[in-house]
């Protein structure tokens, strides 16, 4: 792995450049950036994956499992991208289908039933836009998750670790606490699609990235997330262990903040937080 830290060694990917927001987009999509399973392996113990929506199939773009975090049982639900070509296809480039969201909901309701906290990782370019996904109700699956996550009576901590791709990410994103890694982005639309619609030119993605205000600092200042998790110098891809350690300490602190709340208070806390979100009108 010699020279992996030098900018010319980015696996053929263009070196991050351009405006600050666009650099963040590039870092969030960096091929060496840690994905959900890279964090799960470093932060949790006794991880046991559980599969399937009990209805249609199992979606590898969402990983769910039982685990222990600092000695306590938790549920993990995470969007997963692949590293090499084969893995990328297997994970459908991290774009979940309805069965993925339905699996996520099934296991989150199970965790709620047994009083176990839920930790979700967001990392997707977006929900899969395809014929089969539409036929099986992509919109319905996402919508149902949004409503039902609001009802969960256990603490939910959401961490956007890379790309927070619109509704596809938000479908796992209704948390008591929502955090973003320093170089993660979270947006209503990808900069490329935004540029194609607004400027009629997808090459202006860089301009669109800045206009969309999609960085962690932007979302924090708009009151849409609760905190930012620092990454090692240069970005999480430079040092997976350090990135995971930073994530672990923040997760630990945030989870214990929620410990004092009763089941009813947890639902109320989450509701009040989203009720106030986006008060930008007069």
């Amino acid at each position: 792995m010699e020279g992996v830290n030098s900018p010319e060694n980015f696996d053929g990917v263009t070196v991050p450049g351009g405006n600050a927001a666009w650099r963040r987009v590039q870092l969030a999509r960096h091929p060496k950036r840690p994905h959900s399973l890279d964090y799960i392996g470093r932060i949790f113990q006794d991880f046991q994956e559980i599969h399937g929506d009990r209805n249609f199939g199992d979606d590898p773009a969402i990983v769910a499992g039982l685990a222990h975090f600092e000695g306590r049982p938790v549920l993990i639900v995470a969007e997963q991208k692949g590293r090499d070509t084969k893995q990328r296809f297997f994970r459908n480039f991290g774009m979940p289908k309805p069965e993925g969201y339905r699996k996520a909901l099934r296991v989150m309701q199970m965790a709620s039933k047994f009083g176990r906290p839920i930790i979700t990782f967001l990392d997707t370019p977006g929900a899969y836009p395809g014929i089969d996904a539409e036929e099986r109700g992509q919109a319905e699956a996402i919508a149902r998750n949004l409503r039902e996550m609001a009802r969960l009576s256990v603490p939910v901590v959401v961490i956007c670790i890379g790309e927070g791709g619109s509704g596809g990410a938000l479908a796992l994103g209704v948390g008591n606490t929502v955090l973003m890694l320093e170089n993660a982005v979270y947006s209503v639309i990808s900069p490329e699609s935004c540029a194609a619609i607004i400027y009629r030119d997808s090459a202006k993605a860089e301009q669109a990235a800045a206009a969309l205000r999609l960085t962690a600092e932007d979302l924090k200042s708009l009151g849409l997330i609760d905190g930012i998790i620092p990454e090692p110098a240069g970005g999480a891809h430079e040092d997976h262990d350090a990135a995971a350690e930073s994530l672990r300490t923040h997760l630990s602190a945030r989870l214990s903040e929620l410990d004092s709340l009763s089941a009813d208070q947890i639902v109320e806390h989450r509701y009040e937080k989203f009720r106030r979100m986006g008060n930008f009108f007069a």
Binding site: A143, R151, V188, F280
Partner: protein, 285 residues
């Protein structure tokens, strides 16, 4: 030698037509149906709530007309009609978002893409929100989100049914993640409505896509749609680009969604009020 000769000099002597006059003279009286391509007397079309008298195709109607169609005597009380977005991102595309908003507000006489109202539907008091498809594509931002939330809160406080008529391209890009979060906010509100055991009927009209479909439009106790409406999560163009093949005929139309189990019924516009009234009798009486 030709029978008629155009004297070019005369053109200048004729009074100049402004764009306004030209439109009145050429487009005012007749309209081409998008379904059968026939020319229809516009007044006939409007008298039939924009449903083609020849082929039954439904063309879009604005939010005011929608409320007149559904509510007794066409009467309703509006709420939150002065809420305006304050452009949280300072978004600029071909023109600043704040300017675009002002233009739309002048053109539609609305402050944003929705009318929230209260009225009687077959004698029963309901909270109803109708989206305005002409207002920046009927897109949902912080104002639409707040209007729906307040309608939900009124429904819960007064123990009244909620009806939302969607006509929207989805979340409003110009408000970025702020509009994205409205999906979660409204869905949480609908959770509360659900816990209160109050009925919510979602009416999906052309077009209902993106973040609106992926939140409140699909969360009705009943989801019903007008015939031929485009309904989906991803837009057809995005899907074509992703899978690189032509989409099948009728894909993402109401009838397609009905067949795939996503809708309770496809209801023609002229029968919509009766259908909702009957459903509300089941839920409430």
């Amino acid at each position: 030698m030709s029978w008629f000769k155009r004297d070019k000099g005369d053109d200048d002597k004729l009074p100049k037509l402004t764009d306004q006059e030209r439109r009145v003279k050429t487009e005012g009286l007749w309209q081409k149906c998008e379904g059968c391509r026939q020319i229809i007397w516009k007044k006939d079309l409007e008298a039939n709530w924009n449903v083609c008298t020849k082929c039954g195709a439904h063309s879009r109607i604005d939010a005011f007309t929608r409320l007149k169609l559904l509510l007794d005597e066409g009467e309703f009380t509006r709420y939150d009609s002065t809420l305006r977005s304050n452009d949280p991102l300072g978004f600029v595309d071909s023109k600043p978002y704040s300017e675009r908003l002002r233009g739309m507000q002048n053109a539609t006489n609305l402050c944003d893409a929705m009318i929230a109202a209260e009225g009687l539907l077959a004698g029963r008091k309901v909270q109803i929100c109708a989206m305005e498809p002409k207002f920046i594509g009927g897109s949902m931002g912080s104002v639409v989100g707040e209007m729906i939330m307040r309608a939900i809160e009124r429904a819960i406080a007064g123990r009244e049914p909620l009806i939302i008529v969607s006509a929207s391209g989805g979340a409003r890009m110009q408000e970025g993640a702020v509009s994205l979060m409205q999906m979660a906010k409204i869905s949480a509100g609908l959770m509360r409505l659900d816990e209160s055991r109050l009925p919510y009927i979602s009416i999906l009209t052309d077009p209902t896509t993106g973040g609106v479909t992926a939140s409140y439009a699909m969360l009705g106790d009943l989801n019903i749609a007008e015939p031929g409406a485009l309904i989906g999560f991803a837009g057809p163009r995005v899907i074509e680009q992703t899978i690189r093949q032509k989409l099948p005929e009728g894909f993402q139309r109401s009838e397609f969604l009905l067949k795939h189990g996503m809708l309770d019924e496809v209801v023609p516009r002229l029968e919509l009020k009766q259908y909702v009234a009957t459903a509300l009798r089941f839920f409430v009486d």
